[in-house]
């Protein structure tokens, strides 16, 4: 499902570049090892500005979801209704990402708790790819 293209900035560039290379990374604090997503200029936990990108396994679980019928986002309106799921990462369940769950039927049986795997999708407005998630059958 073609999405708006994220426009990387200084803090997010590394994450989006990794998506273009087919890798999933999360910002990790060099001072206290705290993981955070979205990335921030400072560590949420200790305030340090020294961080690295840590690669994740690319597996996760469906934490929960809702089904959008009337979005304010014009780029998505022609695809309604669609799922918006919250994914928690296998390596760090406190880290959450969003997904349309490509391949999963839009009904009341979205498998909350099911294992998902990352894929990379093209977007509408640029060459930027984004991380998406598919249920592992």
């Amino acid at each position: 499902m073609p999405k708006m293209s994220p426009v990387p900035d200084e803090v997010s560039q590394g994450f989006w570049d990794a998506c273009n290379e087919g890798r999933l990374v999360v910002q990790s604090c060099n001072a206290c090892s705290w993981l955070q997503h979205p990335p921030r200029p400072e560590c949420y936990n200790c305030g340090s500005t020294d961080s690295v990108w840590r690669e994740m396994s690319g597996r996760g679980k469906i934490h929960g979801y809702c089904t959008m019928y009337d979005s304010r986002i014009r780029a998505l309106q022609e695809h309604q209704p669609f799922i918006i799921a919250v994914i928690e990462l296998e390596d760090a369940p406190e880290i959450k990402m969003f997904s349309h769950l490509p391949g999963t039927p839009v009904d009341d049986n979205v498998p909350v708790g099911a294992t998902v795997e990352v894929v990379y999708e093209d977007t509408k407005g640029s060459d930027q790819k984004v991380a998406e998630w598919k249920v592992v059958s």
């Binding site: 999405k3 708006m4 293209s5 994220p6 426009v7 990387p8 900035d9 997010s12 955070q36 997503h37 979205p38 949420y44 929960g64 979801y65 809702c66 089904t67 959008m68 019928y69 009337d70 979005s71 304010r72 986002i73 014009r74 780029a75 998505l76 209704p81 669609f82 918006i84 919250v86 406190e94 880290i95 959450k96 969003f98 997904s99 349309h100 909350v112 977007t123 509408k124 407005g125 640029s126 984004v130």
Partner: protein, 430 residues
């Protein structure tokens, strides 16, 4: 008076552990005023937000029985909730030659155009009438001004409300908009999480939503009462058949954007006792600005935020949960209101019990008159009906909505568990 500063952020009572508010009971709400309501602005300058803010302020003065000469301060939430009118549609002759007065009303706009010649103190508060009210409470409580008007207009322009165009997105929304994650999915997801955790479902919201409409049918200032009384006869079947906005949120879980303006007159307790109406004292004011761990709010975070709000409201006022008579938490999306009910523990409701409570007797005539205002679901989106009703209830002036239980204390607030501002009110200053 050319411009207005934002109210100082360190004067909001946002932290736990601040103890009883040092100005508890020193300020009181002594006047209420509201303009008429309509669905959208029709372009007629006599029903602009500015004109209606003046009308609401005049009504608040009349309600208090004083003249505008006595007003020495104005606090406004200067932004409306709707979109801007926009330069492309063309502005009008002064004072309508900018957005000010059309899509929002600044404090200095009101001062100038209402001719408030004795105003020395003005402030702006962002986002919500609730924020302006807590700022106003502090302004009067601290003695910075004596008798002030707190105003907001909430506008709704012609055309679709709040659309997000474009094929690219930067800033914080780069993490959310590609998937369509905005406030509405957050609320719908949060409600679904709540139902999974506590074994409930969306159908069990019907008694609450129907009761909000029923209370709206007894609120003459409200939008539905004035414009669409038939919508207040919503049935369970209607509710369950309503179109989905973001399942499990349907259209009737959302408050309707409207055009209206409201005003609250706050003065010292001493002066309030000489005015026309029974004073409603401000026992505490509270701010909540929760920080989330990620780009969404988890159910654990929502519950933590609501508990923190309640703790701060109780701590600063010296009240306990069982001493709160009238309770009007925000319901603009009905799907988060249970979090406030459970966080405050009003009428003993614990986590996971709100939907059972909704199925009990929550009518204003009954023993648990929850959200006696009918809220924004029952009256249209302003975010101030809960405060308005709380004052009327404590005065004994709520008419057909008057609760039959004791009404000596009240708590009202808006907007979400993460971001909201609250007042604790009482018929006595102590």
């Amino acid at each position: 008076m050319a411009s207005t500063e934002w109210f100082q952020t360190d004067r909001y009572r946002a932290k736990e552990g601040l103890g009883v508010w040092e100005h508890k009971g020193k300020a009181a709400i002594a006047g209420l005023g509201n303009s008429p309501t309509t669905r959208r602005w029709d372009g007629d300058l006599s029903t602009s937000l500015g004109a209606w803010a003046i009308l609401a302020a005049e009504r608040a003065l009349d309600d208090a029985g004083i003249t505008k000469d006595e007003i020495d301060g104005v606090v406004s939430c200067p932004q409306g909730m709707g979109d801007e009118w926009g330069a492309e549609r063309g502005y009008f002759a002064a004072p309508y030659d900018t957005e000010d007065g059309l899509s929002g009303v600044s404090a200095h706009w009101l001062v100038k155009n209402m001719g408030l010649e004795n105003v020395k103190t003005t402030y702006h508060a962002p986002g919500c009438m609730s924020t302006a009210l807590v700022a106003g409470a502090e302004v009067v409580g601290s003695g910075e001004a004596k008798t002030i008007l707190v105003i907001r207009g909430t506008g709704n322009m012609p055309g679709r409300y709040h659309q997000t165009p474009g094929d690219t997105v930067g800033g914080p929304q780069q993490w959310t908009n590609p998937w369509g994650w905005q406030l509405i999915p957050q609320i719908a997801f949060g409600f679904d999480q709540y139902c999974r955790k506590y074994g409930s479902n969306h159908d069990r919201m019907a008694p609450f939503v129907l009761n909000q409409r029923r209370n709206g049918s007894m609120f003459p200032e409200g939008f539905y009462y004035q414009n669409r009384p038939d919508d207040l006869n919503l049935t369970v079947d209607d509710y369950l058949a309503s179109r989905w906005i973001c399942k499990p949120m349907n259209i009737n879980d959302c408050d309707l954007p409207i055009q209206t303006a409201g005003a609250f007159l706050i003065t010292t307790g001493e002066r309030a006792r000489q005015m026309k109406k029974k004073p409603v004292y401000i026992l505490n004011h509270v701010q909540q600005r929760g920080v989330v761990r990620s780009s969404l709010e988890t159910l654990d975070e929502t519950e933590e935020f609501s508990l923190s709000i309640a703790k701060k409201c109780y701590e600063g006022s010296g009240l306990t949960a069982s001493e709160v008579d009238v309770f009007n938490p925000y319901d603009g999306f009905t799907l988060f209101t249970q979090s406030f009910l459970e966080g405050f523990g009003w009428h003993g409701v614990k986590h996971g019990e709100a939907h059972d409570f909704y199925g009990d007797d929550i009518r204003v005539e009954g023993p648990h008159p929850f959200s006696s205002s009918g809220g924004n679901n029952g009256n249209g989106r302003t975010r101030w009906w809960g405060f308005y009703d709380s004052v009327q209830q404590l005065r004994g002036e709520a008419g057909a909505r008057q609760v039959q239980i004791k009404a000596e204390t009240a708590i009202a607030g808006a907007f979400t568990p993460q971001i909201s501002d609250w007042l604790v009110l009482g018929t006595s200053p102590d």
